[in-house]
Amino acid sequence: MNYFVNEKGYFGDFGGAYIPEMLYPNVEELRTKYLEIIADEGFQKEFHQLLKDYVGRPSPLYLAKRLSQKYGANIFLKREDLNHTGAHKINNTIGQILVAERLGKKRIIAETGAGQHGVATATVCALRGLECVVYMGEIDIQRQAPNVARMKMLGAKVVSATSGSKTLKDATNEAMRDWINNPIDTHYIIGSVVGPHPYPDMVATFQSIISEETKKQLIEQTVNDQPDYVLACVGGGSNAMGMFYHFINDEKVKLIAIEAAGKGVDSGHSAATTALGKEGVLHGSRSILMQTEDGQVIEPYSISAGLDYPGVGPQHAHLFKTLRAQYVSVTDDEALQAGLLLTQLEGIIPAIESAHALAYLEKMKFTGNENVVICLSGRGDKDMDTYMKYFGL
């Protein structure tokens, strides 16, 4: 079974580039050049140098002792929260800004949900001196205020997306409209493994550093590089794809993707895409999305802005359909409790997105010596408001 992209830009039945003609030249330019650009020795050198000296990689793989004790397994946390800017998102923006430079682009646009991708994009734009415009849903601007301030301080223009559900989906629409209207000098840094081919493959490639490091670190810390379980939360699916990437072809390793159930999968307020969705096209690729019978996209809900998205990347749709990975969900409440638990057992405040992955531990059964790796995709600083309100701190 091929779990990776084929020469037509598909992962099994999913992927492709369902875009209007106005976007075709830009996407085609990227498609024909990205592999060559990324494979170039100079690119690789610069990319890895920046990941090391600027982002602070490799991120630690931390055996969480007290958490392990509680659940009766060896639980390793891949500490993407310790990256510069506080989440895995920067792995991708470093890669894409280097691609954009090599394509001769002068202006960068991005969409953001939690603001982590927006901050990571604004950061690399400051680093390289490029103009930056970030689209963010009106509701997310309210619930992620610290990140909005960071983007502004970094010199980015933050544009409020006021259509639809006023969250990530609508910010993505606005970014695509911007790209249509600026067809020559602009590169769109998509923040997850979504969008038209080649984005899902390109973003996964940049995020794959997560599992590349994890395998090496597991060999140093355990007897082999084959954990029993690998867990990650899924919004669009980039931290999960990075975390899964080098384990995908090792079928002994069980992959678990955790989606946001919001107030419950059947509550009408959920973002559990694979549970509630059907095959269709969203934001340029064929995948699984939450939609009505008429093909209208359903507005998702999650307390976590980064998981509040009605689709998943096409590679996830493929892993789901082929049963290579298991897709599950946890509710707002379960995630917040897991966030508090990690904070009090390990002294790590996780992003609410990442707390979704942690919450699934409650539902797993262990015999005592399984090795479990969880992607701790980001830190919780941006979520303090939500935590404080929820726990009455």
Binding site: P20, E21, K169, I180, G295
Partner: protein, 255 residues
Amino acid sequence: MNRINKLFQEKKNILSIYYTAGYPNLGDTVAIAEELERSGADLLEIGFPYSDPVADGPVIQASSKAALDAGMTLKLLFEQLKDLRKTVSIPVLLMGYVNPLLQYGVANFCKSCAEVGVDGCIVPDLPMAEYEELYANDFKQYDLTNIFLVTPQTAPERIQKIDSLSNGFIYLLSSSATTGQNLQVSEGTEAYFSRIAALKLKNPTMIGFGISSKETFDKACQYANGAIIGSAFVKNLKSDDVSGSVKDFMKTFKP
């Protein structure tokens, strides 16, 4: 011969009007078509609304949302169009995004179009390769036209390929833009239109996106077989006087 080919054989300076099905009132779809034909429109593009119209500007975003909120669906649209051909004789295209089409089923969609007398469609986010490989046969079977878009950035070889797959007209975008902006004919635009003319395409061309006045319409007609008006028309529709607002708008084009 289908209605579209016949139109282009017989007429020049073709005026095509886009509007969103179910807007301003859910039941207006056919009444607007009738009024447009009476007022001199040559061709109609009826938009079936989508929740995430990435190629559209604010006006068509708003009309789409209003139509969806009122309950418009593809299924309902085909019901509304059931007796279209009793009162409307000019060619009609449906325009919309690919996801509603996929959920309806492409073959099923083509069949419904043929049943109600729709002549073809424009689906900007249906890629050429997927169309050719998966759906072109369905379109052929029901003698439907699929209209492709070309922008100033579309490469000449791709335009040739689009020409070979087309059998109605080619939709030239005045610039790479979302709908609803004003056409500015700069030297660059003129060069682009001349470039297209020099390719000697087998299909006629229509210019769309940004045509908002008689003046821009006339300018577009210098370079193509006609032009398409969308946002400017939709913006003018009044929910309490639909036929009056259609008539008023059309007067400026066909006095």
